[in-house]
């Protein structure tokens, strides 16, 4: 079975910049491999909104975005190539840091094998349900040496978990529908 990853929003933002191979960071490398169908990526509207919000609103990124780089089109195209967008909700997990919960809900509901993040609060968990919580370099190392990661025993899976909700109709310009598997191209061509 193919590996299913949940990439935290910071991994997506890092992957938006993919310079030449020698200078590419681990996050961009993970997304490149996912686009080559080496593994599947799960995302949620929460992650999408966060990635687009950072790329469009944070001053550093608004200054550093190339002319012609459309964050929304890039995110949707990347996800269409390598994964699915699913909407999830669930019970509180991190009492003190509830804002990280949507990432964990997605990992649990999507049956992710890995949750890739730089967030220390999540990394501290080490595992959540089936998902190993790892940094991008740790994931790449584990992917290149699968024996380094044993699967989480099924009996450890908790009964009470996140629930899937129907996803609303896509509004973006290039979206892969998780239900239909179809991709709609932007009406006006690429940006």
């Amino acid at each position: 079975m193919a590996l299913r990853l949940v990439l935290d929003s910071m991994i997506w933002v890092q992957a938006a910049c993919a310079p030449s191979l020698g200078r590419r960071g681990p996050s961009a490398e993970i997304v490149r491999l996912a686009c080559d169908r080496q593994f599947e990526v799960l995302a949620s509207p929460f992650i999408r909104a966060e990635v687009l919000g950072v790329l469009r609103e944070e001053p550093y990124f608004t200054r550093k975005l190339a002319v012609g780089f459309d964050p929304e089109a890039w995110f949707d195209a990347t996800l269409a190539a390598c994964g699915e967008l699913i909407e999830v909700t669930g019970p509180p997990v991190l009492q003190a840091h509830a804002k990280d919960d949507p990432i964990l809900w997605l990992a649990a509901a999507g049956g992710a094998s890995h949750l890739v993040t730089w967030e220390e609060r999540l990394l501290h968990l080490e595992r959540y349900r089936f998902a190993h919580v790892v940094t991008p370099p740790a994931f790449l190392a584990a992917w290149r040496d699968p024996a380094a990661h044993e699967p989480l025993p099924e009996w450890k899976v908790l009964r009470r978990g996140p629930t899937l909700r129907p996803r609303p109709a896509p509004r973006s310009r290039l979206v892969k529908s998780s239900a239909s598997g179809a991709v709609t191209a932007p009406a006006g061509g690429s940006t």
């Binding site: 550093k64 190339a66 690429s190």
Partner: protein
């Protein structure tokens, strides 16, 4: 069964009763079927070549955009390390301000 621009709409019951026929039409005639349950589109039957082509097109677009952004940053003198550092900090700050709870 109704035919629209994006394909012929069928129900799960149609699919169950005539799965082989639909698969033949998809494979041989390159037809597309939209499977609806209670008026809501749930899934589609499309030729596998089309699915692969759509994914490959999306991947190429994604790679082009990332390369465009990477080249731009390189000209600006921004290193991948700096970009990664800013991304981590910005997402943490954004989540603290806008998180779901």
């Amino acid at each position: 069964m109704t035919t629209r621009l994006d394909g012929t709409v069928i129900t799960p019951m149609d699919l169950r009763a005539h799965a082989g026929e639909f698969l033949d039409r998809v494979r041989l005639q390159h037809d597309t079927f939209i499977i609806e349950r209670r008026g809501t589109p749930m899934a589609a039957l499309v030729p596998i070549e089309r699915l692969r082509m759509m994914r490959e097109t999306a991947a190429q677009y994604s790679r082009l955009m990332s390369q465009l952004q990477g080249d731009f940053l390189e000209k600006q003198g921004v290193t991948p390390e700096e970009w990664d550092r800013e991304a981590t900090g910005a997402v943490k700050a954004y989540r603290a301000r806008h998180g779901s709870k």
